[in-house]
Subunit: 244 residues, 2 copies
């Protein structure tokens, strides 16, 4: 689904970070990783931090230069935490996802998203190759994300835009139906009676108390199973009263 997007890491120093990037990508269903002149790769550190995403590492393409990595791409985006003296056109990860995943040309173009060195990011001549500069919103006093954390945020936005985010409520299919208004009315009548039985209801206050209780239980949107439990409690309370 996101196979037209490649993640490109430039001169990464710590192999552990390459592994963590592979994991972050696979978590978001992405697998197209390019490594430009990594300091150490392959590496046991990378594999260990990949933690099950070693298939992404195994398929990664190592190359010598950035132009080589992005040669077949129509849209090139460079991540940067630093402000630049020359102002590049910028986008946030969300805008990036909108354009890359949902945009008009998204189906037809190959995209590269480039992440620079851990300490110094991308150089200006590398940003010259980019159409956009990608900036992750963050604390201006402490703006350097770990490279794998930055990749995680960007890939997450891509994944969400791709719609895999569609609310997948767990156990939706065998969900217990919500109680109907009628069932709730019988519950309130029952609750009222049970509260009378234990002496909680003073006739002059019962209306306002019942109103408050309705606000509580209406807000909750009880399902029928939950309603059964609550009514079971009321019945048991009443049985106890009548055996007094």
């Amino acid at each position: 689904m996101l196979s037209h997007i490649k993640i490109v890491l430039v001169e990464t120093t710590h192999p552990g970070n390459i592994g963590a990037v592979a994991r972050a990508m696979k978590n978001m269903d992405m697998a197209n990783l390019w490594l430009v002149a990594p300091k150490t790769f392959p590496s046991a550190d990378a594999t260990s931090r990949a933690s099950g995403a070693d298939d992404v590492l195994a398929k990664a393409t190592v190359c010598a230069s950035l132009p080589e990595a992005i040669a077949d791409c129509q849209l090139v985006i460079g991540a940067s935490a630093r402000g630049r003296t020359i102002s590049w056109p910028e986008m946030t990860p969300r805008q990036c996802a909108e354009q890359v995943v949902l945009g008009e040309d998204s189906a037809k173009q190959k995209v590269a998203i480039i992440f620079g060195r851990e300490n110094s990011g991308l150089k200006n001549h590398e940003l010259d190759l980019c159409h956009f500069l990608l900036r992750i919103p963050c604390n201006s006093q402490y703006s350097s994300l770990n490279i794998a954390a930055a990749v995680q945020v960007v890939c997450y936005e891509l994944f969400v835009a791709a719609g895999a985010d569609a609310p997948r409520l767990v156990g939706d299919k065998d969900k217990v139906p919500k109680a109907t208004a009628q069932q709730m009315e019988s519950f309130y009548a029952h609750l009222h009676q049970a509260l009378m039985d234990i002496g909680f209801m003073h006739p002059d206050k019962s209306k306002s108390i019942m109103r408050r209780l309705r606000r509580i239980y209406n807000r909750i949107q009880l399902d029928t199973k939950e309603l059964d439990i609550l009514r079971g409690i009321l019945r048991m309370s009443q049985d106890n009263q009548s055996s007094k």
Copy 2:
């Protein structure tokens, strides 16, 4: 700005991950970190991975139990990658940010967002303490994010929501405060006892019944006035029992 939100890590195994979490938080201008029974802390690994966020580590609160960490919180959210047999109410990081940063009660409530163990996440009895289960949209075939990556995504959404500057809903200044986790725990203890008194609880079933009742009342987010009413009912029921 996000100081009403604490990040709680439960029994983290690798100190490096604690450091990476501190960095992820500080990147998003968050500083309130709680550690429940970390395996190793403080640690050189944590400080090294924090990479300049050691002030967040230094201020982190270490405690022995999860209830202690969330005692003062009105809204408790537990992150989970696994599906659960009982379906908790779920939210995505974006929905979480909308509610926690932009929601009606956001200014007045303390919020805990809990992340479980690296290998096994949160246990069911820990999720019992949560109002919502937070699920990060991801590849269903490879759904376990590194804990710092998960914190990064969630804090990023919180930061983006906080910057969105959306109009805050008005008219909530004289609203009754929500019950804290500690107040809810006393309520559950009281409810359990009252249900024992009327004979509703069979010892072998009491755990699953209490779990269902927790799901009902956690979903509701009771305010303190409502809690008073419910506890009044429990007390009256018990007085009636003892007068039998």
